[in-house]
């Protein structure tokens, strides 16, 4: 009895093995059947023939090279003759890649596909079809270098941009000039951020509300995936505290650095190039509404630009201190914070970075000088005195000159008569 069972088990296993073998053999023979025509270069002579040709060698080395034709072209019917066979070549990637497909379906590309306006990208539009290679391979369609070309195929197409109301071609193209675009294009740095690094891949979502807190909240972590130490620094600063406490006006990375056209701080066109920093900060810190709403000190830009630092910078002397030189860059703290570089107690150290002699005399010193009685009495009274003094002087000079000339003329008249 026991022995019988054992032999039966072996038989079943053998049957299963045979079945698997038959399936493989069939599929292989099916591929062979297709490749009889599609593997021959002569098929390219047919209309749209280039699409019909399969380079067998190239295909078998691709990532799906072990799959037979019908594994993907599963809806293909019976092939009776070479010319009159079923043309249903539909491929459903989701049969295997169900998770990716679900993410894609919910993405902006998936939604667009539902609305059936034109033809938003399907799997093969980005990944290719027969010769898909691993994403780590440089020749892969979605490798860092190639995906830029893939995405811009549509996003730099005026027609597509107009149809869907997408961001302008110019804006998309500005990436090429950015520090990221140059790093990958000129320096070959594959670690540089490309489209998918920031926007995601299968699950790309539309930027519905770029100014919203929800949107801005995620930016530092996103940039922090590569710029980790900067993210950590930023997170300790007042700007992140602002975002955390629900102030959507508080700046995140992109507010100062830009988006597609992020330039190196050494680039003279960069919004964070030393000469341009004051203007960039002034967008918020010289804004009447924002300074009022958040109780920030006003006239910071104006008073800075009137200072020697400001004038130096205005005339392109890059060595002069800009906002960041004193206030910090990513980790900016309010002056009230004892750890802040602009806390009155810390000014000797902060100013001392450039002016080693500016020791104790700079403790509690006023920096953004306004000619106001409360904050800078010295300048206030000097200004007041000279405005009166100059005014009176001009009046005296002018009246004396008038008197003299009037007298000279009347004397001359008398002399004549």
């Amino acid at each position: 009895m026991n022995k019988m069972n054992k032999t039966r088990n072996v038989e079943i296993r053998l049957c299963l093995l045979l079945a698997v073998f038959i399936v493989f053999a069939l599929s292989a023979s099916a591929s062979d059947e297709c490749l009889k025509c599609h593997g021959e270069k002569s098929i390219m002579k047919a209309s749209k023939g280039e699409k019909l040709y399969i380079d067998v060698e190239k295909y078998s080395s691709a990532i799906h090279g072990k799959l037979g034709c019908r594994d993907c072209h599963s809806e293909m019917g019976e092939v009776k003759s070479s010319l009159e066979h079923d043309k249903n070549t539909k491929v459903s990637c989701e049969n295997c890649h169900d998770k990716e497909f679900e993410t894609y379906r919910q993405s902006v590309h998936g939604w667009a596909r539902k609305s059936k306006k034109t033809s938003p990208p399907y799997c093969n539009d980005c990944h290719g079809s027969h010769y898909i290679s691993c994403t780590s391979e440089p020749d892969c369609n979605v490798s860092p270098i190639n995906q830029i070309k893939i995405c811009t195929k549509c996003h730099e197409d005026e027609g597509v941009v107009k149809d869907y109301g997408l961001p302008s071609v110019e804006f998309i193209r500005s990436y090429e000039k950015s520090v990221h675009g140059k790093a990958i294009e000129e320096k070959g740095l594959l670690v540089a951020a490309v489209c998918s690094d920031c926007h995601g891949s299968h699950g790309i979502k539309a930027v519905d509300n770029p100014g919203s807190l929800e949107f801005k909240k995620d930016i530092p972590a996103l940039c922090g995936r590569c710029h980790k130490t900067v993210e950590i620094e930023y997170m300790t600063g007042i700007h992140w505290k602002g975002i955390e406490s629900g102030k959507k006006e508080s700046p995140v990375c992109t507010d100062c650095h830009g988006e597609h056209r992020i330039l190196s701080p050494q680039d003279k066109n960069s919004s964070v190039y030393t000469v341009n920093v004051p203007v960039t900060c002034s967008k918020c810190h010289e804004d009447v509404k924002l300074t009022e709403v958040f109780g920030m000190s006003s006239n910071r830009y104006k008073t800075y630009m009137e200072s020697f630092h400001g004038v130096l910078l205005e005339y392109g002397e890059a060595k002069a201190a800009n906002c960041g030189s004193c206030h910090g860059v990513h980790k900016i703290l309010p002056p009230s914070d004892p750890a802040s570089s602009v806390n009155p107690e810390n000014l000797p150290v902060t100013c001392g970075k450039c002016h080693p002699q500016a020791g104790v005399k700079f403790k509690n010193a006023k920096i953004h000088i306004e000619a106001k009685k409360e904050s800078s009495a010295g300048k206030y009274y000097v200004r007041k005195f000279y405005i009166w003094f100059i005014g009176i002087l001009i009046v005296i000079f002018a009246s004396y000159v008038l008197l003299e000339i009037f007298n000279y003329r009347s004397k001359k008249k008398k002399g004549e008569s």
């Binding site: 004038v311 130096l312 002699q357 200004r383 002087l393 000159v401 007298n407």
Partner: protein
């Protein structure tokens, strides 16, 4: 014996050299200083860029400052230690009679007085001019040095005082500009009695006729001295 139609020396060569050096350096200082004061205006930008940018503007300003400081020191040493110059200096020291002269002049112009005051070698306008410039130069040089040697200043002077001096340097510069380039230019160019130009600053000579009219006390002194000498 000084005769009518002749010329007499009013300003000697050293004073004339000092005057021209002061004029040139003050002019350059005014232009370069104005450019910085008005750095936001088109004119300011034009001057700064014309001079080769911020740093070279500062350099030119400071070179002129050295010239001006040197002239001032030279002048004070000269009037202190040279007998001739010291005598001249004593004549320019203001006195009560200058205030009287001022009011008499105003009254005369307004028609209240029939006689014009009798001036000595320097009238009240010239004295005001000289001392105004002296005070102005002192203020400008002191505050300018504080700004120039900012590293030392920052170590010894409180920040608010530096800021105050910076404001003072700008405003006092405007005053000096007004006194030298408006008021003084009127007196030596546009004033009807000298138009188009008082030539004393070039050759130092003045007509005896004019001396008698404008500086009668000095004329009298000169006449009595030359009469003594002639004897």
């Amino acid at each position: 014996m000084v005769k009518e139609g002749e010329k007499v020396l009013r300003v000697n060569l050293i004073f004339r050299i000092q005057h021209i050096s002061l004029m040139v350096s003050a002019l350059v200082l005014a232009v370069t200083g104005y450019a910085l004061l008005m750095h936001k205006s088109e004119a300011g930008k034009f001057i700064i860029n014309f001079l080769g940018g911020y740093e070279s503007r500062a350099l030119i300003h400071r070179i002129s400052a050295i010239v001006l400081i040197a002239v001032c020191i030279w002048h004070y040493l000269y009037v202190l230690f040279s007998k001739k110059a010291h005598d001249e200096f004593l004549k320019i020291i203001p006195s009560i009679s200058d205030v009287k002269d001022f009011f008499t002049t105003i009254a005369y112009y307004l028609g209240g007085k029939k006689s014009f005051p009798n001036f000595d070698k320097f009238n009240f306008i010239q004295k005001f001019q000289y001392w105004g410039v002296a005070v102005g130069m002192t203020a400008m040089i002191m505050s300018g040095l504080v700004l120039w040697f900012k590293d030392i200043s920052m170590a010894v002077i409180p920040k608010w005082a530096i800021d105050t001096l910076m404001a003072l340097h700008g405003y006092e510069g405007v005053v000096t500009f007004l006194v030298l380039f408006i008021w003084h230019q009127y007196n030596v160019h546009l004033n009807p009695s000298v138009f188009p130009m008082d030539r004393v600053w070039l050759d130092g000579m003045i007509d005896v006729e004019r001396l008698r009219k404008e500086h009668p006390l000095e004329y009298d002194r000169l006449m009595s001295e030359s009469a003594k000498g002639g004897r």
